[in-house]
């Protein structure tokens, strides 16, 4: 019996160690290549340098697409946080027919092939006569971000004990004050987690955005893939390394605020 346990633990440890190495490999490789002083991607690099960071900063089109992506991600996440939270409250607290269907429906874009959604929206918006890339991108990215907010806030609300609000009111809190003092602190982690993942999903989206870009309006992943196809040099790795650094910073802040374990709640 002890032996079976030991074998199980050994097996879990080996597979986990392998998986961690497997998951970290692309990140480590990218960072190393970005500091290499060679045009080809040789590992380990013959010499170190910052030249790819300089080249990255000089590449035309990078900064505008980064700013565009951040802007679209921020606006769509904000809108989704409001509408998604309201919808989550309605489906968890409300007593009306079809709330399970609504819950499934609002989360469903997450499971649909992005490219298909993109094609459908492209044809639809074209028929409506909307040709502005920025507006189209925004409309599409709200669809991308909404399910993340809905799913996480819904899960967190369904664990929330609503009688606490009544308790607070019995103890003399007004209703808005009871909401602010009891419900908001409980929901804050879900807000932060879902907002973070919604933001990252929007920042990373390629298959939907590709249908709504024009030569002047390109989001970051599209611009990066274009760089890769036109002239693949380690300045892409430098950009990637910057994004990795940014994400580590965001995760660090997230850990301080809500704890990593909450972030892993899927």
């Amino acid at each position: 019996m002890i032996r079976a346990r030991r074998i199980a633990i050994f097996y879990v440890a080996v597979v986990t160690a392998l998986s961690v190495v497997f998951l970290m490999t692309p990140l480590v490789v990218t960072v190393i290549v970005s500091f290499a002083n060679s045009t080809v991607f040789t590992l380990p690099p013959p010499d170190w340098s910052f030249r790819w960071y300089e080249r990255m900063a000089a590449r035309a089109g990078l900064i505008p697409s980064l700013l565009l992506s951040l802007q679209i991600a921020a606006i769509s996440t904000a809108i989704s946080l409001v509408a998604g939270t309201l919808c989550a409250i309605a489906t968890v607290r409300g007593r009306f027919p079809g709330r399970d269907a609504i819950a499934t429906f609002v989360v469903s874009p997450l499971m649909m092939p992005g490219l298909v959604v993109g094609v459908a929206m492209l044809q639809f918006l074209r028929e409506l006569g909307l040709r502005d890339a920025y507006t189209s991108l925004l409309i599409a990215h709200i669809v991308i971000t909404m399910p993340y907010v809905m799913r996480t806030v819904m899960a967190s609300l369904s664990l929330f004990d609503f009688s606490l609000i009544d308790a607070a009111r019995t103890l003399g809190c007004s209703y808005p004050r009871a909401l602010r003092k009891v419900m908001v602190p409980v929901l804050a982690p879900a807000f932060l987690t879902s907002g973070l993942f919604a933001f990252l999903a929007s920042l990373d989206n390629y298959p939907i955005s590709i249908f709504f870009t024009d030569p002047r309006t390109k989001t970051l992943p599209i611009q990066m893939l274009q760089f890769l196809e036109e002239q693949p040099d380690p300045s892409i790795a430098a950009m990637s390394a910057c994004l990795i650094l940014l994400t580590i910073g965001v995760l660090f802040v997230g850990d301080r605020l809500v704890g990593l374990r909450r972030l892993a709640d899927f």
Partner: protein, 279 residues
Amino acid sequence: MIAAIRRLDPLAWLAVPATAYLAFAFALPLGLLLIKSVWTADGFTLASYVKFFSDPFSWRVLTNTLKIAFLITLVTLFLGYPVAFALALSRGWLQVMLLVAMILPLSIGAVVKAFSWQIVLRRDGVVNRFLEWIGLIDEPVRFLFTETGLVLGAANIFLPFMVLPIYSVVRLIDPRLSEAAATLGAGPVYGFLRITAILSLPGVVAGIAFVFSLSISMYVIPSLLIGDRYQLLATLTGRSFLFLRNETLGATVAVILLIIAIAVVMVSSYLSNRLRPAR
């Protein structure tokens, strides 16, 4: 009608903005795509589907897509299931490290990761160097632009989507249940199979559904790791619209992909309802 609306829970109104928005911007376009694929100027027709399915190339694309998605799901399940347990059972800094290893890759874009797999899988890349170093191969093996490379890269990118749903179920399993089983004389293997494994199934179903639907719809990863000569349903859709300008073909393939994705969602939600313990 008005009385029915009056009787409705006022909280229902809070669901209106999100639902109405998605109905308009998401469901309506998908519905129109479906309808337009069978409804042309001449009325109802399945011609585009007949044409698609009578072409052996289409069948190859379809079977490639399903095969690759199946393989990716298998690899991630094989690796992810033990990792989910390690994550649930570990404590302290070890758990923090494992969580970072799961979440950090999750938050880095597919373009960035697919690009680094291009570097890893090259002839003189890390994988080939390592295999040569441990003496498994004598000369470099081609990984880039092969199915193996694609499955390896995609499995790497989707692994957290398998681990995290299983983890969130496993960590809620009451450890006293296994102890009770052991007290009652169940061996560890029997106890695991009859209790822990069964209780973890909802997480496994969720993970498989996630990874499978991500795998059939991936676009950036195959275009960087396997190239244009190997087509999948999603890459074929993208190519038909963006390069070939063949919108009829693109719409047909898109609808087929959509139907597979909906089937995955329906099967997985049916299974997870069946598996949910009675309360």
